[in-house]
Each structure stands twice: as C-alpha cells, then as structure tokens.
C-alpha cells in the first residue's frame, strides 16, 4: 500500500513539475523522472478507428513504446471523438477526478474547445516542455498554436497537419473538368447528378466540407473568426444553406443517404459510384493506391483560392490515470522518427508538424526523399490554406444541418 501511494505521489510530482518547473530541476532531469514513472504504465489512447492505415500506424507506435519505454499502449477505437469527450464529462460528473479511463485523446477543433472550456484537460503548458518540441514548426504553422481560433495554451500536442484535398479518377474524368471552387462544384454536380456526396455530419470530414462551403460563400469571412453566438448566425450561414438546398438534389442518392466517412467515399470512388471525393489528408489516395484499394489513375486537386487547413493534436484528460505514460507517448509522436513514418504514404501519408530547418541534415534528407506517391500533390501545389472558423460554427452548422436535412424526403 505504502509503495503504491509513493508511486502515485511521484507521478503527480513529475507530471506537475513538467508544467510548472516548480522543483527547480533542469528540464532534462524532470523528463527523466517522467520517463521513469511511465515505466510499466498502460496508456489508453482514444483515437478514431475507422482507417486501417492509421490503426496500423498506432499499433506501430505501441510496439515502439513497449520496446523503448516499457509502456503498453491500448488503442481504444472510436467512431466519433465526441464519445471520448463524453466519457470524461461523465467521469467528472460522477466525481471521478483520478484514475480516469482515458489517458490520451486524438483531438482538435470543437472537441478541444469544449474540453478546454469545461476544464477537462491536463495542463496548461506541458507541450513546450516535451524534449521533441524543439523540432516543431511553431513559427511557420500558426495552426499548431491556434486550433480553430482557440489558443492551444500548451494543452494539446501537435500530431499532424491536415489540408482538404479532392480526388478523382483520371481514367473516368479529365483533370480539366474538375471544379476549382465550391461554386464550380455546384455546377459540376448539376451536370453530373449522383456522382458527388459528403460524409453525413456530424462526421468530422463531412462537417469540414460544410465549413469549406461556408467560408467560400460567406460575405465577410472575418465574422467566422468570432463565436457564432456573437453574430447573426441565421443571416451569416444563409448562403451555405442556400447552396446546400441547390446541391442536394444532385448528390449521390439525392441526399437521402450519405457516405459514412471518408474511407467509405474512397470505396465508392473505386466502385465508380462517386466521381469526386475528398479527405483531410493529401496522401489518402496514394496510400489507397498502394493498398490496392484505388486504381493508380486516381489524382488529387484542390481549389486555387484555398481549402481548409488545420492541425490535429493529442491531449491528456485532467483525470488521466497514466499521465506520465501519455506524456512520453505524446513526445514520441513528434519525434523525427515517428513523424517520418507517418508522412510516408506506404504507412499513412499524414504531413509532418516538424520544421525541416530544425532537423539534422540527415533527418531532413529522409523527409525530402519520401516518395509521396503519384496521386499526392507536392506541398507547393496544395494551394493556400483557409483558416478554420471558430469552433462554435461547426456545432451550430451541424445542429442546423440536422434540423434541415436530418429527415430527408
């Protein structure tokens, strides 16, 4: 019993000191303590589990942590990150402020905003004390420190970059025909009824598509940087819903059913049911080609005026049971080794959050040598990144979408 208590006290001290430097130890000494305490811990990592590539990558991370740090990683596969938020909220309501069931959550946007607002996150300021933080491209990637307009305050550690990219099969449709804006997409859908759709909100990618249209259609984009509660939501969002009213009759299945998520759309692209699909990861198509899931004639495109771009993160709940283990895991995720594998389309293809200039020449070289695949646009071809609206927009848009289209006729 005493031994147990001592251990849990030590965990508290080390994880606390990581955020406060209270002990006056040098940061490397503190980190050594964290690593030591993490030994033998089991980290329950709640992460969306709908993609095999990503699941495999997470399994690889788990093997590495087991070998290097004696940490067991359990991937709790979610179909919606909101479920993890819900679990932590329920634990807080039930007074379970320690030994929570979740140690790490793959998160961003409105889920992060909601957890931060409700005080459900560990921190602030633990991320910048991770040893591998030195490689992170804080300077040139503003979304690493501002997540959907909300300052991250060191309460979530970046994992990867996302950019909305569209895909088509060049064997069926020529690149010239492909739309270059939401308006052109609307026209294209009218000419090619039944060949476009988006995942049913509140799927993350589906809701992101709605935001892309909103940004393009709204008159004053700066309004979207404010909370949707502070502006006239009905008026500002009207162009989006006018657009959808016009688009829906020409969608796949006339918008009476929707693909469940973006991997489902890839399957539908392979089946020839859809002609244009999209994802938040530029390498989705290349990676699917490598796995024989899509034909090698699939190509990517974006809108020249820009598409949504953001960063995805990992965060630790305030009542996590294995905080030290979660910290070591978060640190491993931003190591050059883990980031390199993640960007390789053979495994996942998710763009790195690291700055090439901060890496050793050898490490940077490895990144540059990655074969991103035939269907992946080069970073300079991806076009400008549009800023994410304030998270309240996503929530409100989803609500209105459900009320308006949730019961199709």
């Amino acid at each position: 019993m005493i031994k147990k208590l001592g251990l849990s006290a030590a965990i508290g001290v080390a994880s606390l000191s990581l955020t406060s430097h209270a002990l006056g130890d040098s940061s490397s000494q503190i980190w050594d303590m964290v690593v030591k305490e993490a030994e033998g811990q089991t980290v329950y990592w709640n992460a969306w589990g709908g993609s095999t590539q990503i699941n495999d990558y997470i399994a690889w991370v788990g093997e590495n942590l087991e070998d290097e740090y004696d940490i067991e990683v359990v991937h709790v596969k979610l179909d919606d990150t909101a479920n993890a938020v819900s679990a932590v909220v329920a634990e807080k309501a039930a007074g379970k402020d320690e030994n929570g069931s979740i140690d790490l959550i793959w998160i961003n946007g409105e889920n992060f905003a909601s957890m931060k607002r409700q005080g459900l996150l560990y921190g602030p300021d633990w991320t910048q004390n991770l040893p591998n933080w030195q490689y992170v491209d804080v300077e040139n990637k503003p979304t690493i420190t501002t997540d959907f307009t909300i300052p991250t305050d060191g309460m979530e550690s970046p994992w990867g970059m996302a950019k909305l990219v569209f895909f088509h099969d060049s064997a069926r449709t020529s690149p010239e025909e492909m739309p270059d804006s939401a308006d052109e997409l609307l026209k294209w859908a009218a000419e090619n009824p039944g060949r476009f759709s988006y995942p049913q909100p509140p799927d993350f990618i589906g809701s992101s598509f709605l935001k892309q249209v909103l940004i393009e259609q709204v008159e004053d984009r700066s309004l979207l940087q404010q909370s949707a509660d502070e502006v006239n939501f009905e008026e500002v969002s009207k162009p989006l819903f006018d657009y959808l009213d016009e688009l829906h009759p020409n969608l796949w299945r006339e918008a009476k059913a929707f693909p469940r998520d973006y991997p489902s759309m890839s399957q539908l692209l392979a089946d020839g049911e859809l002609d244009i699909t999209f994802a938040f990861n530029p390498a989705t198509a290349s990676s699917a080609i490598a796995n024989d899931e899509l034909p090698d004639t699939v190509r990517s495109f974006t809108f020249s005026e820009g598409t949504l771009g953001n960063t995805h993160f990992v965060a630790i709940p305030y009542n996590a049971n294995a905080k030290a283990g979660a910290l070591v895991l978060a640190n491993f995720l931003i190591s050059p080794e883990a980031q390199l594998r993640k960007q390789d389309p053979a495994f996942w293809g998710d763009p790195t959050v690291l700055a090439m200039g901060k890496l050793s020449e050898e490490q940077a070289d490895a990144f540059n040598k990655l074969d991103l695949g035939v269907a992946t646009l080069r970073p300079d071809e991806l076009g400008p990144a549009l800023d994410e609206p304030h998270p309240s927009w996503m929530t409100k848009i989803e609500e209105k979408w459900l009320a308006r289209y949730g019961a199709a006729n």
Partner: protein, 559 residues
Amino acid sequence: MLRYSPFTALLVLAVPVLCGLAGTLLPAFGYLPALGGTSFSVQPFDTLFMQTGIWRSIAQSFFIGLTSTALAVILVAGFVAAWYGTRLFKKVQYLVSPLLSVPHAAAAFGFAFMIAPSGFFARLFSPWLTGWERPLDLLIVNDQLGLALIAGLVVKEVPFLLLVTLAALPQISAIKFSHLTQSLGYGRMAGFLLSTWPPVYRQIRLPIFAVIAYASANVDMAIILGPATPHTLPVRLVGWMNDPDLKMRFMACAGACVQILVTGFALLVWTLIERVTGVVSRKLAAKGNRYTRDWGVRVTASVLMTTSALIVFGGLLVLALWSVSGLWQFPNTLPNNLSLKNWMRALPGLSGPLVTTIIIGGASVAISIIITLACLVREQQTGRSGGNRALWLLYLPLLVPQIGFLFGLQLFLLSVNAIASWTALIFAHVVFVLPYVFLSLSAPWRAFDKRYDSIGAALGASNWRIFWHIRAPMLLRAILAACAVGFAVSIGQYLPTLLIGAGRFPTITTEAVALGSGGNRRIIGIYAFMQMMLPFVGFLLASILPALIFRNRRGITGF
C-alpha cells in the same frame, strides 16, 4: 446449494433487467443526481419529441419490427407446410441450419455487399446483360422505408424460426396429422396450416415475440442496412447516449422508454394479428375447401426459402473474397488479383479482440451452463419445472429491448465505479447467454429416460454420482451443443459489450461494426469472417468432443 439454483437464475436474469429498467426510467423523468438531475420532470420527453424526424424514427422501428417478423413467420410456415417430411425439406434444413450461428452484423454486411448497386448481384449481370459500366445511383441499402433492413432481418431470422419450428414439430406428431388431412382430400399446405400449424405456433410463440423485440430495437443491423436520414430510433438513442452534452442522456433515456413502448405496442399489434388470423383460418376450415392446387405456392415457398439462405451464404462468401482481394472495381465480377496482404496487416490487431471475445464467451457460457444444470437437477429432484412463469422469466431479457435496460445498467455501473470491468461485462453477457443455454438444454434434459436414474439409484449411487456418471456423460452432446449456442450468442452481442465495456473491451463484433463504419470492405471481410468462424469452431468442437471422449463407448454418442 442446489436449492438456491432457481433463485440464482432469477437473480442473474431479472435483477440486471429490472435494475436497468429503473436506471433508464428515473433519468427519463429527469432524475439522475450524478448529472445534476435532482427533481422529476417530463422535460426529457419534451426535448425528445422536438428532435427532427423523431416520429419517423419511431414509426420505422415499429414498422420494421412487425413487417420483418411477419414475413419471416410466413416464409417459415409456408415452407414447412409445403415440404415437411420430404427429401427437399431435409436438404434445405441442412442448408439453413448453420446460418443460425452467423452473427447479425456479419449477415448484414454480407447482405449489403450482395444487394448494393455496386454489389455482387449487379456485378454478376454487368455489363453484359444490364449494360451498366457504372453502378446505378439507386438507394437500395439505407433506403428510407427500411426495406433493406427488413429483408436483412428476414433472411437472418428465418433460420432461427425454422429451427424452433422443427423442434416443436415432433411433439405434435405432425406427420400423422398430415396423413390424416391428406386422406380427407386437403392439399398439402392447406392441411398443414389448418391442422398442424396452430399447435406448432403455440409452441414457437415466445421465440417469435423475441424476434419482434429484436427486430424493432436492434442497433447493429440497423446501422449497416437501415435508413440514415433519419436513423431508426435505437441507433439515434445510442448516439445521444454518447453525446458530450450530458443533458442528452436524459433524452436518450426518455427515448429508451419510448422504445420499450414501441416494442410493446408491436407485440400488442402482433397478438391482434394472431386473433384475426385465428378467426380467418377457422372460417376457412369451416368452409371445407380442400385447396388442392397448391403446387405454385409450394414451389414459390421453396424458392424463397432457398434464396434467402443462399443470399446469406453468398454474402458471406463475397465477404471472404473481399478479405483476400486486391483491386476489385465495378463491374468486375471477380477481383483483379488476390493477396493475403490484408490478412497479414489485420492479424496483429485481431489477436486482442479475439482473446477478449473468447474470454467473455467462455466465462459467460461456463456460468450459464452451471446455473442451467443446477436448475435442471433441482427441477428433477423436486419435480417442479416452474412452468410458464419460469419460461417468461427466461425470455425476459429477450423480450425487453436491450437498449431499454442497458442504458440504465450502464449508468448504474458507472455510479458504483464498476463500469468497464471484466465481471460486469461477463455478467451482462450471461443475461443474454443463459436463456439460450437453458432453452437448448432443457428439452433434451427433460426428455432423458428417467429409468437410467432409477437404475443408478437402485444400485446405490448417490445423486451426485448419478449426475456425473450417468446423466452428464449420456447428455454430454446436448450439454456441449447448448454451450456452443451460448458461445455463438455471446459472440454476437454488440450493444452490451459496447455499453457495459465502455469501449475498452473491443471484441470481434464491436470491432467489426466500428470498422464497418469505415466502409473498407477488405477489413470488414476479415472481421466478419472471424465473427462467423468463432461460433462455427464452437459447434465443431461440440460435435467432435463427445466422439473423442467416448471413442471406446460407441453406444453413448447416440444421444
């Protein structure tokens, strides 16, 4: 010890259901202190009925539950009436029986792969016959009337209803009845339906009720095949229960109460239909028509029955094929290339859920079989079977919609900090496994020739000894078969595993449904294949083990 066994069964079955129901009912009326609900109100119901399309979701659950059961019952009754006692009947029976152990989710995936516009049927006939180079934009799977879901439920429930009918038939001396009606000049089907079916029906009534309850309240098949704009009521309830906005849980519980009413109403309407059919069939019988020209109907019945079995088999085969396929685009009937790559990639991830599935299944079966045996031995000693009341109790967990008491049970376990523990999860499974184990074993147990016991007793053997040396070995085959049924039931459990395990005990089934949402057919193929194989291995062991154990006592395997 033994005298408490019926009480234990009661405890294990009724307590979770009743606790769970209470745990659902209180929050539905606003009371759940842990989430800040300290006073009673009807607010949760108000919010529930303000949700978009809520009435449609409710109507769908009701309509789908009744229609699918009615169609399945008609199909089974028609087929049995048309062919019972023939060689064709035996063949179809062998074809259909294995399908009983196919979990609902796997059957649903297979079915979806067959009937989708880019599915296997369309591929078989494209483009050479249909001219389709591209799949048609047709809403087949996830259609708004729920027809795909109804069809999926029918093909999945037919094997179950056929088997319970088969178990009932010998007790009615159906063959003699049919000889009688035929000598009176009745057509085969009319003779059977007017004379044999009513007593058979009485015996399979409870299983039919269980089918209605499942069909009106199921989640796993409805996610895969059911309407999506809006989803059926049970699917929406699960979503609300998991919403980060905890206030939604009050509404989810209110919805679960509505679901119980919907299922109850469906059962009520069913009993009305029973009466009407009874009146009509008596009228028909009184008229005295012989209905001898039933050849067309008989052929239709056999074609429909065979088709429904073949669709499930075909779906499972296509699933298996997807799991080893490379690129496989429409309208190709077969994949361009085969590879084991998908399996190699999936295997490391499979082992965890596989072990969990086996542990939960094994433990819940072990507990269930011990309770069942204890109850049966006790019944044998006292001569009291508990009769109809006990039967209703057994069926309780199968008649109350899972969602109705699992929400409450989850909230209850959460508040006592027992959520996501092995014990809670295994006992949640026992609630569903025990009824099936008991129902499978009780018939052969009661049919056992008591004179063996008497001989044993006359030779001075104790009850204990009689059990271990006479009953258990001679009934081993039946005991193992009951275990295999229980194991299959445990494997198929989706909602209890998800809710009581809090997502931390992934099993093959929860993984299959979670990954199925990702639409990757290769992975779905692998998981559905595993889902199918586990019960199959269970039944295989159940049939091989007795032969191995008694290889030097040939006579004993006859039971």
